[in-house]
Subunit: 342 residues, 3 copies
């Protein structure tokens, strides 16, 4: 399925190998010697491809799929079309991710140090670092082994980039320390001044922004997202956070481990998210507040005050998720009743 | 009016020529020999300029305008000041667009292949391609005749760019096929990984993103917008879509022909918009849903479920536009009533 | 506190000097000879650091702080821990900003004209201009004395940049005139085409965008924000405006002096903000409307019509702030009452 111009297929694999890769088991009747040549979605898969069904809205596609094999949960297996080899997993999407990574291992192309890159002689580069064309590495930068930097990236003085990072094209870094295994997608800006100023009679006075951005290991930051450096402490993104595109993270913000921040979210200055908080797209979070561990925030919410650990919130201003939908329902009914009276 | 440092005026034109260009007709008494030297808005136009009135909120400006000529609909012509030459059109803004394009044809400056551009020798460039300073063209890229790429652009391996495209400065492209006549404004990111991962006991596992972005002909994408490549199928932008600045388009999203997506909209993964859908600014659209042809979504709406063809929606969560404003009115009245009681 | 890899500490200062710098006075008992070596937040400050308390939510941190000195308002001074030297100010944050600027003066590193920069020979550069690696300066550009341009910036033909500007890395400028002392953070896009088109039978016709962007003195624009040029007049940002990250400003928009635009706000075409308007994050403002001087718009509001000078607005669609919170309270109560009945 995947266009060979862009992706190299590392298959084929036998169905037995695939079940092992998926850490799942073959259903009875599935032939472990069946050759699987690709991954594909249910509606596009041919007989030599493996697919997956996770979201029940695609059950009809599942029932009609020509996929030779499919990862499926025990709950949905009886909806399979005849002749399809089944791989049974309680987490079909995770199993699929493992299979897809066997066919198409995640790689970012790096090709040594481009001649056109401008690298200050004080910079320290680990083994196998790749640096793209036109990329600028300022004084005292440190880049860990195996890191790959794309084209036209700008890395400011003294920035530290960990091992195996992938810093894609047109990224700007300054005043930051980045852990190992971090991916920054194109156009990410890390470490610029936060939005700090205070009025005085002559206009606004800039408040010096003298903190850093500290990003932990194995984080991913989406295209054109912006992470401002701290004002007087660090902006911190702990290990394993996944941040989507066009997200704004203000100065002094702290994200605990494993937070998920969907596209276009804005987090205002000095707010702290505990571990494993998930924030839906376009949500805004006010400054100087705390979000407890494992809290889930619906898309397009407006968080104006602290949120307890484990809570699920929605609305502007945000409230518990059930309360929000009760209010939505009540207002709908009231408008209908009033409409009748008029 | 237009600053000659930035724009070259291709006038003057006689009023008769202008009416022809506009595909409109001169009102009685308008002198077809009148020389028109520029376009200008109503409040800034002098006697040698042509203006237009389309939005009724500017009718007072129209009545007081010193413009020598003006495009106007039959409905508004009697509000014209004395002595103004009128060009009558049912679509004054369209007529104005044609006139303005005669004075100031759309051009993006290209000047051959910059010496500092880095172009892989396997890349295939059509006739009259222009490539700006510091731009990087990777292996196996194809660029159609007459395409213009700005400065510090990065084009990843095997990307295909159609004829006559304008790829402006600091754009990043990878894993994508772009049709003819497409304009990508500065800082656009196309083809990066979508936001795909799944939790496992060790953290989050990245789901390989092995689709492409396929953009049709005559599309325009605004500054700093991001279009992720597909996860296991393509992200598709059909012909003639206009996408504004800072828009996020997730993996596997499909836009039908002629969709209009205003600034800061976010469209979540695997959602499909049919032809000619119009989405107002800052709207969020959930994943895995379908928006029918010709639907109109108000600004700042939250679309959580399928929308029928031709529907007009507003609110978070979204509902039919009239229902939304009825609810707004009902809540306002209730708050007033309750306020009195307290 | 500040990492010496990134920031040069210009201290120490005596407490007496610091009070002078802050334009504030020492409380009785504070030793003017005390050596202060750094600024720090309350919870991280040691005995040789000066901190500040402004937001009452940090009063507990204040009471427990080990800071040697602290700027405090008269209202909060009695909450100070024993032994802390106090600097009394009615505007502690402003006083702190002055102190921090003495320790860490705002500087952007510039280092002459990089050899790899591409500068058209018609460009006019003032004294002490610095231009970073890979930056492209087109024909007829003018850059004022002391301006610093970062790496991989693109400056289009005839752009004017004032004295002392800081144009950071990966910025794109075209069709614009920029005043003195302006800071544009990484990835800012100024002067590209606005979102102007009109349907005709063959699809959408582009409306030529022949205005400019004119930015006044002492403005700041945050990372990855986008400011489109005017359609047929200028897009204007008056003196002293502060614009945060990922903000969208449409064609023909006018901002009066001293406006504050928080992250991810979108302002639609032809809308005018008077002086000193403050707009909270993620707010959307419709096109062709007017916001009066000094108006304050809460975060995540949807402004659909004119706003009076001095008004405070919230909600989607926006209404006066108090009315919005009354409606929120009324709906909450109604949902509770209805919940009981069911």
């Amino acid at each position: 399925m995947a266009d060979p111009r862009f992706f190299t297929n590392h298959g084929p694999f036998s169905l037995g190998q695939i079940a092992d890769i998926a850490q799942a088991k073959l259903a009875q009747g599935a032939d472990p010697e069946l050759q699987i040549r690709d991954v594909a979605p249910l509606d596009l898969a041919a007989g030599d491809a493996v697919s997956f069904i996770d979201n029940p809205i695609y059950l009809a596609d599942f029932a009609n799929s020509a996929a030779g094999a499919c990862v499926v949960s025990p709950a949905h297996r009886d909806r399979a079309p005849e002749g399809m080899a089944l791989i049974i997993s309680d987490q079909p999407y995770l199993a699929y991710a493992r299979i897809a990574a066997a066919f198409y291992p995640y790689t970012v192309q790096g090709d040594g140090i481009a001649e056109s890159a401008i690298i200050d002689k004080s910079a320290i580069l680990g083994d196998r670092v790749a640096i793209g064309h036109g990329t600028v590495i300022a004084a005292n930068v440190e880049i860990g082994a195996g890191a790959i930097l794309g084209a036209n990236v700008s890395v400011g003085p003294a920035v530290v980039i960990g091992e195996g990072c992938k810093i894609l094209d047109n990224v700007t870094l300054s005043h930051c320390l980045i852990g190992d295994g971090v991916t920054l997608h194109p156009g990410v800006r890390v470490g610029q001044d936060g939005f700090g100023f205070v009025p005085d009679p002559s206009g606004y006075v800039k408040v010096p922004q003298v903190g850093r951005v500290v990003i932990g290991d194995n984080c991913e930051v989406g295209a054109n997202s912006t992470i401002d450096r701290g004002a007087n402490r660090d902006t911190i993104i702990a290990d394993g956070c996944w941040i989507d595109n066009l997200v704004q993270i203000g100065h002094n913000v702290e994200l605990g481990q494993g937070c998920i921040i969907v596209a276009q979210v804005g987090i205002s200055g000095s707010t702290k998210l505990s571990d494993f908080v998930a924030v839906g797209g376009q949500t805004g979070i006010a400054g100087h507040i705390k979000i407890g561990a494992g809290a889930k925030i619906a898309a397009m919410s407006g968080i104006m005050s602290d949120v307890s650990a484990g809570a699920t919130m929605a609305g502007i201003p945000a409230m518990p998720f059930k309360q929000f939908f009760r209010q939505v329902a009540v207002l709908k009914r009231l408008a209908l009743e009033r409409g009748k009276k008029t």
